[in-house]
Subunit: 428 residues, 3 copies
Amino acid sequence: MKIIILAGGEGKRMWPIQTDKCLIPFLGKPLLYHNLKKIKDNVKGEFIIVATPQNKDHIEKVAKELELTYQVVVQSEPKGMADGLLSAKEYLKEEILVVNAEDLLDGKIYSEVAKGGAEVVFAALKVNKYFPGGYLKVDRDKVSGIVEKPGERNEPSDLVKLVVDYFKDGKKLVEYLEKITSGSDNVYEKALNQMIVDGIEVKFIKYDGPWIPLKYPWQILDIQGYFLSSIEQKIYSDANVSEKAIITGKVLIEEGAKVFEGAVIKGPCYIGKGVVVGNNSMVRETNLEEGVVTGFNSDITRSYIGPNCWFHTNYIGDSVIEGNFGMGSGAVLANLRLDDHTIRVRVAEKEVDTGRHKLGLIAGQGSRVGVNASTMPGVKIGANSLVGPGVTLYQDVKDNTKILVKQEYQISEHTPNLTSYDQFRKKL
Amino acid sequence: MKIIILAGGEGKRMWPIQTDKCLIPFLGKPLLYHNLKKIKDNVKGEFIIVATPQNKDHIEKVAKELELTYQVVVQSEPKGMADGLLSAKEYLKEEILVVNAEDLLDGKIYSEVAKGGAEVVFAALKVNKYFPGGYLKVDRDKVSGIVEKPGERNEPSDLVKLVVDYFKDGKKLVEYLEKITSGSDNVYEKALNQMIVDGIEVKFIKYDGPWIPLKYPWQILDIQGYFLSSIEQKIYSDANVSEKAIITGKVLIEEGAKVFEGAVIKGPCYIGKGVVVGNNSMVRETNLEEGVVTGFNSDITRSYIGPNCWFHTNYIGDSVIEGNFGMGSGAVLANLRLDDHTIRVRVAEKEVDTGRHKLGLIAGQGSRVGVNASTMPGVKIGANSLVGPGVTLYQDVKDNTKILVKQEYQISEHTPNLTSYDQFRKKL
Amino acid sequence: MKIIILAGGEGKRMWPIQTDKCLIPFLGKPLLYHNLKKIKDNVKGEFIIVATPQNKDHIEKVAKELELTYQVVVQSEPKGMADGLLSAKEYLKEEILVVNAEDLLDGKIYSEVAKGGAEVVFAALKVNKYFPGGYLKVDRDKVSGIVEKPGERNEPSDLVKLVVDYFKDGKKLVEYLEKITSGSDNVYEKALNQMIVDGIEVKFIKYDGPWIPLKYPWQILDIQGYFLSSIEQKIYSDANVSEKAIITGKVLIEEGAKVFEGAVIKGPCYIGKGVVVGNNSMVRETNLEEGVVTGFNSDITRSYIGPNCWFHTNYIGDSVIEGNFGMGSGAVLANLRLDDHTIRVRVAEKEVDTGRHKLGLIAGQGSRVGVNASTMPGVKIGANSLVGPGVTLYQDVKDNTKILVKQEYQISEHTPNLTSYDQFRKKL
């Protein structure tokens, strides 16, 4: 069995997050690590990982750490899934299993699909409400067609196709893929449909476990929720946790982490290597990757905090911070509209309703937010940008951009009565 | 004995507080509850409560809870005290005691006046400095006249008439009231003066206990002070107080309340039903009505906080918050002028010196203050209004009004040297 | 031996600090106290202190407290060191030792120089890099000339002249001083050079202990560092330190000080008389002079805080606060540029690079900073000035000046759905 991992996808709607989706770390390891581990534990075979020129090295590192039998092939340009598969053409022979690198699924589905039992087997997600994906037309346990984004109420079933696809003969898939005019959209789905039309037997396995899409950056919070829910209580022996810190719920504290007096950690939480949770800070339902420093008196709640961020008396709620990010004292990431509306976010010129009542900031790598600045719910800050002190930020900030507030002042003479100040203080 | 409770008064100078004065809750019960209970404990009789169409139902609830013998009569429009009494005309027979619903007095004065001993008996407050009310002209233990607002240095005595008035024959009072041209001011006082002129014997009982007027909204703080001073230490059995919270002084914690680790409560304090005092928050000399949530790390000091308010890392000092009010993280209610002056407040187009060195915000029902906003001492926010993030509020905000700050920005390219950031952090 | 202490110097570059350099208190005593004590412990003699009309009384107090044998002479105008010495002319006879009042040196150098062993003996500081002072030209242990500010790479040696100068015959010094045209610069150094030219034997003692200049106000932090490093752990018996406070490292807590529950003090720290460290506040590597109040939840780090300052939920990092200074809740003194640059400060119209990566505010006596205001790294606030709430301060503020922010607002109608607010809260 060859297990084809598609890790060459773009994340067009992930701005300002620059890290490849599958390389975003959770619990100290890239998402890909978690996914490959799960597949390895469930399916025996050689991994063929389709990478990009940019993420190739990181991916190799992950594969090595997992001691996989693997090959990495490079898809030179992001030209879609079919192109990605064809980059690995030489490995598409006999039994293959095709999986998306970043899809988060229960491990069992891999072994179930990999069992085969037909020429082609798909995993099909049972959905309760319309999702803009490919729906299966089915006839008992057989697939009779795939309908891309049928629109609400036109769904042919309640089953959406996932990308956990078994092919008894990878070569045949290649033939079908190569028959479709390249450059057209959805080549992969067209090839599958053609297979069905040609009478090739396609079955499906129903999947009703968790499936968490990662299309928009705020969905990182959902993925984090999945990982946090799996955490077991553990404090590594060389972590340094004050007896005067308070830890409740399931909290995993990695080696080298320090938790100071008066700090409160309410699980589930992941406290990565070398993290410092400062005095009187509170961390709740949060993932702090390696090297994060909360500083004194911060409140970090339901947030994803990537590596090497530092804070100091801040509120960070329901936020996604990619990494190497810093905030000055008193800066606040607002996460709640003061009316009853859900939070809407601009994505590639369009407004998207996140469906969330609480969502804070989404920030790229290397950004800074100055003292006493405030960011509004759902705002995004690009990589390497700077939001100045005292700014109340209602708008997105592009990559490599500095935004400073210009205040107008009223300056006048001032003659306090110092004696009376003293007297005054005594009165208080 | 009929005890006539006048609960139909307007609170023209109480804006933005909308709750009827006598219905404002302290220690979990409306002011009226406390007052009626005190009268019930001191005077035997039937309560005749003059209500408004709006507060009628609430008042009935209070009367039932106290298991009073009572009638509620409705004064259809707020046309003054005499009109209020005449609304209850059918009950004004034989012995009556007339009391204002919202006046806070020691219980003993009710029984003393109710003893009678003359045709008419008033309670008279001994004052040390001029108060703009009705002064008594007296001759030994007899009243020889009432002088409305005589002006400073023209006081006929140091005795100000309260509204705890006994009449041996309520019918006679009705006659006198009906003789005065209706529509004129101070009908009640004119009627009383006419009684005196006509030779009816009017005595007075001197009162030197506490009397706390409630004419302006900040006086709610004085009334709260009265109630807090009476508090006995008690934690209801189903309240949940962390062993790592610190409680000093007399603190009453009601059922269902939660006090988290690191929280500090310095009595006297009232912590109402279901209140949540969050981690590291401090509450001092404060009344938190039902359902208040302090959030993480707030400092609530000498403030009146009505039901269902929520806070999050805020400073609330010497403030009056009616209820259902919320503040974003980092918002501050300043309570202290940075010079030696007392705090002045605009009331109905006029500036009133509160005489207070410390006074924070006065806020109506359902308002919100955004993250990192600041309000200046003595400012008022109307009901259902919103003060945006980052606003520094020097002015009052009307009911149903949104005020947002418009910031001007300087936006430029920014190219941080990320390597040096890291080096820099290592240096720190 | 007469020990001439020059305490008449001006501090032109010390604005906004008004206190005479030698009178700035550290560990509860003026710098002069510490210096005189050290000299007294190392040299036997009568102190002749050259004061100004302004600091004369304070200086007498210090001398008395130390039980010195002393005379105070007044230099009527700040006309330089030679003029200062000549003010004390009547005492310049036989052996004298001339010392600057504010120079911080190890005590041993005084005894070494005072031993004499030549007509004139200087202390000479060994420097590693260029310092704009007077360099010694030397020949073995003899001085063959003094070169004022030779410029980098033109230094005649690596020895900079300090002001610890022994003269076997003070009278001779007077003669030389009086020969130089008064009014010219560097009269003292010119006189010394003339002595050398005339063949008078001048030796030097090499000094390689600490020497901390006090030319700019931020150097107060360096001097503080010196004193803090000498602190021994001690809590005076009538100080009141909660068992729930956390104290680590060497901390000296003076009489009458109070440290509340949840407060954290990380040494070395000096906590002066009557200081109040409020609940949940943190103080690190800091000198808090008499009467300082940190309030609730402040973070005071590596800062010099003069007497009678009060704070309330503030961040004060790497700052110099002269005294009687107050900050409103949420105000922050930023101490770190969000790029890799060291902090530059304007001094007398010129920018000076402090060489520091962290530097907060420098504030004069009696100033105030309002709630939620922010000051940028290295900014200075003059005496008796007021920085209003919400100001983001990038510029210096002169003495006796008030600076308020003028915000522009967008005001509109607001009709929240109160029912839905409640529902909303329940959802959260």
